[in-house]
Amino acid sequence: MGELELRPDRPGERTWSTHQLTEFLALVSGARDETHAMEVAVERAAEALDAEVGAIVVGSRVEVALGVPAPGATGSALETLVGARPGDRERVVLGPLGSGYSATVAIEGVRDGRMVLVRLGDEAFGGAEVSLLHGMARVLGLTLRLQRGIADERRQAEENARLLDSLRRREQLLQRLDAIQRSISDRTRLDETLAAIVDGAVEILGADEALLRLVDPHDPGSMMIVASTGIDDARLRGLRRAPVGELVGGRAIAAGKPVVAHADGDGLAFDDLETVVAVPVFEHGAVVGSIAVGARSRERFQDDDAELLVRFAGHASVALAAARAADAAHSTFHDPLTGLANRRLFLDRLDHALAGAERTGASVTVLFLDLDGFKLVNDSMGHLTGDRVLADVAARLKTSVRKGDTVARLGGDEFGILLGAGGLDKARRIAERVGSAVAEPFDLGGREVRLTASIGIAAGSSEAEDILRDADVAMYQAKSRAPGGYAVFEADMRMRLVEQMALRADLQRAVDRNELGVVFQPIVDLATEATVGLEALIRWSHSERGDVSPSVFVPLAERAGLIRPIGAFVLRESCERLREWREETGGDLAVHVNLSAHELHAGLAREVTAVLRATGIEAGSLVLEITETQLMQDTEATLARLAELRALGVRLAVDDFGTGYSSLRYLRRFPVDILKIAKPFVEDIDRSDGDERALARTIVDLAASMRLATIAEGIETQGELDRLRELGCGLGQGYLFSRPLDAHGVERRLRAERDRAAA
């Protein structure tokens, strides 16, 4: 720097410039490569000289530019920078950025290289400033020359390393392919062999992930994933069932030859991948699938990688062809989804067992298993999720039985277990084990779902179909007692089944003939005990059986598809009564109607609108109650439907709050207005001052902070009422205030209240 000539324009500038240059040298020489050095140089020069725009230009090419983004939009600005010649210190116009003064200096040691700065506005660069810029350009030139020397050396070293690496890879490749060949000839399961192929490909190619896809034989336009490595479940779900021709793997299938794609040029579906190589897998000369490997760094793949991958694809072809022959036999007797025996094989084995039993005089025991609530999972979360649950259940069943037992998928969500040995006691133990295995939560990509299984057990020595039917009847009995349990077949069960069928028919008739009734439980303001609302409760008085409890007939109605007409009836009845009470007593009341999960269907908003219009009740006076468990079951669809209802102006209440998986998070997502505190919390509140009271307080506080109203359910004692008032709970219902009343009872109560108030 000694020879640097400075022409101070102002006293003190010499000191300033020299120090700027020292700082500049320290920064530029620390750059990791040439481009970085140029970037740092332009940036620091611009900062030091208060310039907005800067560039390094070599020939007619802009190597780096600062302050002029989006080259398309400011092309004219870049042209101006390219046009600047060393020595220029003139006024320039930079397109939309406006005009300013430029300063351009040559970069020593770089052929036709220039550093250009532009300061927008009216202040030209002074002599000392241009001199400083000269010094900076010289530092940059030296650094670039140094960088080039280093880069050459690095390239040589990399070349040597590549040669070594190539030899090593070839050796590993041979070992891997050998292992795969052995597993094919040992008739290892196809899925394990294919997994070994993708693992091997990732290892040998130094990739981050690999996928083996096959064209779906039933839908030749789309592909399915049969083996993968290095890809998490969430992404795998996103990649599943892509059409042939899409994604790099699909393009290799369509083209029938290797395809290499890079993130910048080809727009890979996942931005963390830099390069993907895919090659087709052939079988008997036709393309049946592809192997794709992806890497997050561009340098990872080498020129011969596609060729290596073709070797793995060749082994996949052999494995597929070898498995195909064995597979044909297997699929006749197995369920493709779960890999379990199918109904045909199950009955075949049952027949076989009965033949053996005939010889020994023993009987054969069968378990019939049906999942409770599976339909809801399937309908709400989609068939893919449903299939996954079925496969999980199958795996759990297999680990819950003994070696000699046969597990089969009989169809839909029904499974059968044929016991190899042992009688009813053994069957009960297995039923318990199987029941608790199924009851463990299912993790569906972060969403927890719980299911239960109802199990029927039957033993016999007659016909296979008969035993299976008896087990089915026992299952039905178990399910109607309480889902999640088991029952052993008894002769009178068939009778009871018939009886239940009859009850269902009666219910159908009751619905058709309007034999159902509604009663109303008052909801009161806890401060004044005045009635502010009424919760509608369904009642069924059967002509022969007397009152049938809702806990018996509502599930029956849900299973029989009768819940929608019943729900519609309750809604209409409630709104009509509400209008009458208002006309009679002038009170300002709301009516609460419970919604069953089965009622939360797409047409509900329309139905509600029709009823409101017909009865003249404004939407704000109708509160629809949903249980917390319902809310959790299918959030997206539920959310959309609740939002529709809310848009009508109807208010929403969460029933039994605190008994399910409550969380602030979902409350925020759902458009609810009211929390109903479940009875168990209310009962405990007066008995202890421990956790339960804290829980009730938390619910009330939570509701207050979210501006939700709270209704305490099942208040029975004065003590409970006092505690709830202390907590700041606004509303409540329960026997302390009133039992459920018929419409006349409600009217009497309202009149009495009105008269009291008037007195």
Partner: protein
Amino acid sequence: MERKRWIGVGRSDHPHAARAGAAAAACALEGRDAALVVVFSADTYDLHALVQGVRVEAGEVPLVGCSTAGEIATGGPGDSGVVILALGGEGFSIATAVAPEASRDLRAAGAAVAGAFDRVDERRHRALLLLADALAGDQQDVVRGAYGVLGAATPLVGGCAGDGLKMARTFQLHGDLVLDDAVVGAAIASDAPLGIGVRHGWKRVGEPMVVTESHANRVYRLDDRPALEVYLERLAAPVAMCDDPAAFTAFALTHPLGLARRTGEEQVRFVGEADLGDRSLGCVAEVPQGALVWLMEGDEGSVLDAADAACAAALEPLGGRVPQGLLVFGGVARRGVLGDEGIVREVRRVAGHAGGAPIAGFYGYGEIARTRGAAGFHNQALVVLAVA
């Protein structure tokens, strides 16, 4: 739909975080649909709960924010509260972005956040609002990253979060996220002008010193002697003071370093801490090796005059129009010089310039304002964004 452009500001110091968030948001929104909500909150709140509270009122609106070392609102400065600014109505197009784990690559973080402009409509005026974490390293690099993407046509404005001078951990808010070591930003495009002003009002004391050894924001040697020694000697301060980090920070707050600039005011660098082991000083942004620095001092008069000048500069592009509101980013050191009563006067002065429009902001650990040149990170300054 909202038609007229509007800005609303709300504040709360309710002890319950969710309620404070909800109350301040309700006051800022007054029932309107916002295009952006900006939250400045004391770090003593449970910020997750606070954001949930804001959400109750504001819904899924784009949200950015940070923790503070003091909040600023129309009525005056405050501590341990939350101030929320909401803006909306006609003529705004806004998108937000966040870069977590910014300290891995501060420049990339700045560039990533600047990318929010890809999602914004073309409008006549624009600015990138940045909220960053000064404890994550040299914040000038964040400015460089954003400038590299946006260039000279887009001004940058904002500040670094605070934590009530604990200097331990500051938070940045984006959507429902509460992060530290992050940069959050809002790309604001507007039909009406956006003006930015920045001044600090500090003055050089004594002779200049040369930074003979430094790395990024760490200064090892001044005039070829251990930096801490020179610093204390010049200020006639006892070495023992360094034993108490809090006391040192409080002292250093009013004694920053000033970096020579080609024109105009020096760039002020806040000294955050000292390392007794290698006798170095830690600053909040880069102090380049070879640079010429001065010790700086300010008095109430010069610092308050700077507030006036920053406001005037911000309002200038508005051409006499009364702003819809002002966003204010103050260096925490101003509190050291001005004291609790002085900052009341400072905020009152700013409010005076607002002509009745609401103001919101905070005191933090660094300010961002780039309207000309390529540098734009400041310390101990007052940065004002005027929105017409």
